[in-house]
Structure formats: structure tokens, C-alpha cells
């Protein structure tokens, strides 16, 4: 597809990286020439220096033949304006990043009346992810598939867990659960496990199943499944606002630390149910005074990555049981931060980019490929794909145990109509099913690709 990206900050870069790997023709518009220079040197894209909302620049970038325009500059207004121009000039789909909470109420109007295809708010998306995690604190990550009917939940195996030092076969015999352990990350390595794989302490496993199944699985493991009752948020920015709103709706108590007095007043007007504390979140005494050790969860949302990480490490040392969520802006060091053991880390920019990429995939899929959705995890080494199975596919009507499937591929779920089945050796795929495949081999285009050639 011909894609135009306006704005080349962190989100823009993540998009360029991902979308150029997937073979799209990308043109980037950005005002800073050194940024463009850098992008053109590192990725196979065309760069144009200029204001993305200018019609002549857009024409230079080939808006007439573009299929999609993505506006991710720092300015909401510029993003909306360039989408409007693109819409008129090139009749393409448009995606805009709009982050000002004031526009939040107008999102529907902007989308429907101004004809934008997708509006994404990074703060809100990050807050929603944080909120999901707080409602299910055992998980370090939750991802939804097949329109929410299937979930992928990431958890870490504790030393005293029932899973520890057992093969998957034994676990299945003991727990009799419908979920499937599909990916195991151990240190630097990633495995797609088979029945004889032995789980160890500190392995990070991803399980796939319906939300009911996963809930049962966790109950059997005696892991906490209830949502947290109280949370402490440090930093009262937009993300905190969206998060607090969502948590309060779910009946969770919220305390927000915010340095700036004026912002505190604003916040208390916006969310009267939350307890707003005008104090520096890095002030230890204040945190203890406000009952840090008794808090079930702690979310650090200040604007400084370093401060967030330090805070989370500190809280981990004084309240080891609390569920921690840390917001990090810079995506470059995700491997190191992931290995620091500070609970769940959310990257607003990454979430934004991921949402846009999945929209783009959806768009290109409607042009002939059979991938319904594609989700990447563990530093892009693992792909979770949702395939539509055609009526003439060679995988149909053969029990799975008789299919000659490539190494590092697992069929995680078969969805038929409104049903979602956990596959066994005897299960068969039928035409019209949607199949979820987890794999360490990348570049699959069709369900056939899982077979040995």
C-alpha cells in the first residue's frame, strides 16, 4: 500500500520501522531536515521536508495515489488539518493522533463528520491498557483477539507455583484446563513448547483461551484473580486522568499524587471521586504517610522515564506484593527495562503504533490476504496470527496430529461461529473457521504456510 506518514517522532519512527518491514511504500513528511536525513538513511522510505498540512507538500509526496495517511505530529490541530486536506486531495483513509482530552468528547464528531478513519489517543490507549492490567493483576500483559472472544495473557511462573518443574503434559493432566500455554520466554530465549517441555521458575508464559477459561486456570493455580481495590497513581497527566476515570467506574479507589497545584485543582474538578494529593511523588515520607505499604497497586505516570522506573523499583522494595505499572516513553531500551522486574511496563508510543499497525494490516488484508489480525510479541520474535480458512485449504478435515506442521508453530485456538475451541490432537479444521496460530517463524501469509513443504 502507498502510505503517507506525517510527523516523525517516536510513534512515527515505530510505524516506519514496522510498516516498511511489511513491504508498504512509505513517504514521510517532517519539518526537521536532519530527522528526515536519518530516516532515509536507515529505512527504505522516501522523505520530504516540510509542513505536513501543506497541500503542495502533500502533492509532492504523492497524496493522489496514496491509500492511507497517518498524521502523528505533536500537534492535534495539525494532525486533524492534514487529515482533512488528505481526504479532499487524495480520497484516502486517514488516521490522526489526537491527544487533548478536550477533543475526547468530540471524537465521534471528528471521526464521522470529518471523515477520519481512526483517531487514536496515546494517553487514553495507555490508560486503558493499565486499567485492564489492574483489573487482572496477575497478568503482565493482556491482548485480545477475535473481537475480544479470545485472550492472550502473559504471566510469570513463581517458584512456589504449581506449574514449576513440570512438563506441560503433567500440568494438563493435573489442572485439566482449556487454555493453552503457547509461548515460554526464558531469559533471552523464546520457545514454542510441546508436551514434554518443562517449565521453570521465572519463565514468562503466555496462555491463550477465552476469558472464562483463563480465569479458571488462574483460580486452579491459586493466583489472585480479583481486581485490585485501591491504587496509587503518581503524576497527574492525561493518562492519569483517563486511568482514574476508568478505575473509578469499576469501583476501585484512586489516589493521585501531583506536584502542580493548579493541575490538582483541575483534576479534582474533572474527577471528584478521586483523592488528589498535592505533593511530589518522589517524596518518600509523603508516600508512606498516604499508606504506600498498604496499597494493592501502584502506577507511576510522571513525564520522566527515569523517575517512573526508580519509583517502581523503590515501591517494589517496600511493598513487594503490590501490582506495579510503569509508564515509559522511550521505546529504545525495552529489553533492559523488561528484565528489571518492575512489573508491567506500558509504552504509550508503542501502544499507539501497534494500534495503527493493526489497522493497516486490517486494511491490506481486505485486499486479498487471509490474515485477519497479526500481533507480535517478545521483541517481534513471536507472531500470533489469526487466519481465515478458505474452503479449499489443504489443512481442512485432517486431525491435527496427522498434519505435518513446521517446528515452532502451534495451533492455539479454532474459532467456529460463536464457539472458541481449544484444539486437541483429534480436532479438525473446517472451511470458514478462524484459526489462531502462534509461531516463531515469521512471514506467514496463509494457513497453508504452517505445513512442512
Amino acid at each position: 500500500m502507498q502510505i503517507l506518514i506525517v510527523g516523525c517522532g517516536n510513534v512515527g519512527l515505530t510505524l516506519i520501522d514496522q510498516l516498511s518491514k511489511e513491504g508498504h511504500n512509505i513517504t514521510v513528511i517532517e519539518e526537521k531536515s536532519d530527522v528526515i536525513q536519518n530516516v532515509v538513511n536507515n529505512y527504505d522510505v522516501m522523505g520530504i521536508v516540510g509542513n505536513g498540512a501543506s497541500y503542495s507538500i502533500m502533492k509532492d509526496a504523492g497524496i493522489e495515489s496514496a491509500d492511507l495517511m497517518i498524521a502523528v505530529t505533536n500537534s492535534d490541530e495539525l494532525n486533524i488539518l492534514s487529515c482533512l486536506f488528505a481526504k479532499k486531495a487524495g480520497n484516502c483513509s486517514t488516521i490522526a493522533r489526537v491527544r487533548n482530552p478536550i477533543y475526547k468528547k468530540e471524537v465521534d464528531f471528528i471521526r464521522d463528520e470529518l471523515g477520519l478513519s481512526l483517531i487514536i489517543n496515546p494517553e487514553e490507549a495507555a490508560a486503558m491498557e493499565a486499567s485492564r492490567l489492574l483489573k487482572f493483576p496477575s497478568a503482565t500483559k493482556i491482548e485480545q483477539f477475535v473481537k475480544g472472544r479470545t485472550e492472550l495473557v502473559k504471566i510469570t511462573v513463581n517458584e512456589d507455583s504449581r506449574l514449576c518443574n513440570k512438563t506441560l503434559k503433567e500440568i494438563q493432566a493435573e489442572i485439566k484446563s482449556n487454555v493453552l500455554i503457547s509461548v515460554v520466554a526464558r531469559g533471552e530465549e523464546v520457545f514454542i513448547p510441546d508436551g514434554s517441555f518443562v517449565l521453570r521458575a521465572n519463565d514468562e508464559i503466555s496462555v491463550i483461551g477465552t476469558s472464562k477459561d483463563t480465569l479458571q486456570f488462574f483460580k486452579k493455580l491459586k493466583m489472585p484473580t480479583a481486581r485490585v481495590n485501591s491504587t496509587l497513581i503518581v503524576g497527574g497527566g492525561a493518562t492519569a486522568y483517563y486511568l482514574a476515570k476508568s478505575l473509578i467506574e469499576a469501583g476501585i479507589q484512586v489516589k493521585i499524587f501531583e506536584k502542580d497545584n493548579a493541575r490538582c485543582k483541575q483534576l479534582t474538578e474533572l474527577i471528584p471521586e478521586a483523592l488528589i494529593i498535592n505533593a511530589d511523588g518522589t517524596d518518600k515520607e509523603m508516600l508512606f504517610e498516604e499508606g504506600l505499604t498498604r496499597m494493592e497497586s501502584f502506577v507511576s505516570l510522571t513525564n520522566l522515564d527515569e523517575e517512573n522506573i526508580m519509583l517502581s523499583m523503590f515501591v517494589k522494595s517496600v511493598a513487594p506484593k503490590a501490582k506495579l505499572i510503569t509508564k515509559v516513553h522511550r521505546v529504545n531500551y525495552d529489553e533492559i527495562i523488561g528484565s528489571m522486574g518492575i512489573g508491567s511496563v506500558i509504552y504509550p508510543k508503542y501502544i499507539t503504533a501497534e494500534r495503527i499497525v493493526s489497522y493497516v494490516r486490517g486494511m491490506s488484508n481486505s485486499r486479498g490476504s487471509n490474515i485477519e489480525s497479526l500481533y507480535k510479541m517478545n521483541d517481534d520474535r513471536v507472531e500470533v496470527l489469526e487466519f481465515n480458512v478458505r474452503k479449499d485449504s489443504p489443512v481442512i478435515g485432517i486431525p491435527l496430529q496427522n498434519l505435518d506442521i513446521k517446528k515452532g508453530v502451534i495451533i492455539a485456538r479454532i474459532n467456529r461461529g460463536f464457539e472458541s475451541l481449544a484444539p486437541s490432537g483429534q480436532s479438525m479444521i473446517r472451511g470458514g473457521d478462524t484459526v489462531i496460530v502462534v509461531t516463531t517463524n515469521t512471514g506467514f501469509h496463509d494457513i497453508e504456510d504452517i505445513l512442512q513443504k
Binding site: N25, I26, T27, V40, N41, Y43, D44, M46, D60
Partner: protein
Amino acid sequence: MNYSVVRFMIFKVIELIGILMLLPFLVAIIYRENMAATVFLGMLIGCIVVGAVGSHFRPKKITLYAKEGFVVTALSWIIISLFGALPFVLTGTIPSYVDAVFETISGFTTTGASILNGVDGMLKSVQFWRTFSHWIGGMGVLVFMMAVMPLVDGNGMHIMRAESPGPSVGKIVPKLKDTARTLYIIYFGITLVEIICLWISGLDLYAAMTITFSTVGTGGFAITNSGIGGYSTLTQAIIIVFMAICGVNFSVYYYIITKRFRDAWHCDEMKWYFVTMFGSATLIAINVYRAGLLPTPYLSFHHALFAVTSIMTTTGFGTEDFNLWPEFSRTLLVTLTMIGACAGSTGGGFKFSRLIIILRTIKNELTFIIHPKSIKKVYMDGRAVEGTTVKSVSAYLGIYVVIYVISFLIVSLDGFDFETSFTAVAATLNNVGPGLNMVGPMGNYSQFSVLSKVVLMFDMLAGRLELLPILILLSPQTYKRK
């Protein structure tokens, strides 16, 4: 430096040379030149085998950073010349290997400087290979590779930058591969049209093809001793048109194809190029006609325009021996030699875009002296030129002068007259071919010593690859592991 990537790319290039030998092999078969056919078949098989074996182990990830990109480009050009020279030696056309390499480098760099005293009796297939090397070198070997093979994983922009002429190389479509393809499609189209035009004008197909290769690559190897002088005025006019076309930035043609006429028209460089071309041709025509060298004003203009176009596009074809023209005409032609054609064309030289940037920088500097607090940018094609580009153009001018002076000094060791040595360096560094006196349109480079030939070969490569890639190859920093 990542040696395994460089190794892989180089052997791929060798494989490509093998594949390219297929064409002269077919020509040899058609004209029943059995010995040449054997040579070309041997080269074809040999190169493909060597290339396939050498590039058998593909590095896991082919990422080319600036350094590797430049080194790969420079080495590839040296390697193709070393391999491309073998058919000349093996068929006995050019017995000395150094001379053969000179001829091949002159071919690939589209210089057209020859060490041969005469080309009349040459084997047709060898002649074909000689002119075909112009065609390959015109648009670039590695650009061709990128157009047909998906070699580089992430981005081969550095290769494109090293191989394509011009102060700032950009893409015309988002993907490098598509850009390379688009350029080659345009190039191929122009080639095809010229072959047909020349064929209609009365040349046989073989002559039409070989002369076309020399023209569109802006090379200048002729297939007879009389150069282009022996053909009809119509044929010469067709050649003028196609030389001029190939000296223009190819992105202009892309704009025209995609109906972006305004963008095509806004190319400052192209305007300067044509104004200079017709202006100089008129001056030379008057000069030559008044000296009484040519009988009619029309004929004077025809030959003047041919010479000017041939020199400006750095082709180097000749219809008349301009070495015998009046001093003003000769000097003007040497000056044009230094300027060359447009960036992004198949022509060589200093390039009009650089000249424009330098002249406008000088103007801004003058303004700066008169108004010390003034801030001005250099504009070209209606847009501000990046500060880094201006800087690199100035540096380019510096390097150009340094290389010129050193080469000139070494070549003068041979003891030939000033004009010969001076224009020999000018004609090779700018990839033109003919200079004045001994190396004039009717002369050749055979009398130079081996040392001078090596220096001139270096100049041709440096000129074609725009100095830096070749210099990077000579810098010890390049080879440090860290």
C-alpha cells in the same frame, strides 16, 4: 567494516558480469566469430561459477552502512573493470592487460578515452562489448543489481548515493528497488527509441545498437576510425538530440511521465544546461565560421552544436576535429568539459547543480560582506538547499581541484606538451574522453606511460563515482575493525 557483506556483494557483481557477457556471446554467434564466442562463453561460465561459489554463503543480515556502501560501490567498479578487460586480452584485440583495463574502465565510466589507434577491423562481438560497457556504466551497475535482485535487507540508499551522480541523491518513489527500476525503465525506453531512430536514418541494426549504447551512456566509443563524421547529417542530428536528452536529470522524465509538468519545469539545472548548450554552440559557430573553417553558417552551427553537446554531456563523440578550431572555441570546449552535465543523468563532470550552488553561495558571501548581519540561504529549484549539501559541494570542489592538480603533475612526467597533459586529466576526470592536441578527437591515449595510464584510470573511476567512494577505499580508517 563488515567484510562478509562486502565479499557477498562483490561476488554477486561478478556473477552479474557473467550474465552480461551473454549479449556479446550472442553477437559473436550471429557473426560467426568462433574464437570470440569461445572467449565470451568461457567468461560467462567462469564469472557465474566464481560469483556463485563466492556468494554461496549469504551473510545473515545484509545491512549496509555508509562505509560498506561506499566500499562495495568502489570495489565493484574496480572488479568489473578487471574482469571486463579479459575478453579484450583473450581475443587478442588489446594484447597488453593494462591497456585493456584502461579501455574497460574508460568504457564503464562512460569516458570514451581509447588507447587504440584504430577500431576499424575489430571483431564485432568485442566492439559490441566495448560499447555495451558504456550502457551498463551509464546508469550504474549496482543500481541495476538493486533493480533486479532483492539483495539488501533494509536499505541500499548508501549504494545509490555512492553510484548516482549529483550533490544530493534522492529517490523518486518510496522504495529503492522501485526507484532503481523506474530509472532503468526510462533508460531502456530512451535506448530503444534511439536504436529505432538511428535504424530508420539508414544505419544497420548493429551500428544503430552500438552507437546508441555509446550515446545514451554518454560514453563516446565510436565503431569506426572516422568517429561520427562518416554518417549523414540526419544521423548526427539524432545523436545530438539523444546526447542532450541523456545529459538531463532523469527525474525530469519521471515527472513528465507522471504528468507533473510543473515540477519538471522547475528544474533550474535543466534550464542552465540548455541555455549554456545553445549559447556556447552559437558562439563557437560564429567563431568557426569567421575563421573560414566550415563553408556555411548552418554547417558551422551543426558541427558546433554537436561538439558542444558531445562535450557537455561528457560523451566525447566527434564529427569535426575541433582541435583545429580557433583558440576561443578550443578553450570554451575545455571549460565546458569541466562543467559536465546535470546531476542524476548518465553524464559526468562537475555537474550543473554543483555549479549553481557554488555560484549562488558566492553571491550570498558577497551579500554577507556588504551586510554582515544578513542571513541568506542558497536556493535551487525553488527550494532552499540544505546547509550540509552546500558544505559538501564546497568540499567536492576542493577535492576535485586537489585530485586534478596531483594527476596533472604526475601525467606531466611523460614530457608531453602542457595542453595534452592538462586536457588529458580534464577529459578523464570528467569522463569526457577527447581533450586537445595528442588526446584530441583524432588522437588517443596509447602513448602515455603505464604510470600515467594508472593515474588516468584512477581519475576516470574517481570522476564517475564522484570522488569520495574511491577516496574512502584509499583511507586506512576504512579498514579498522572498530
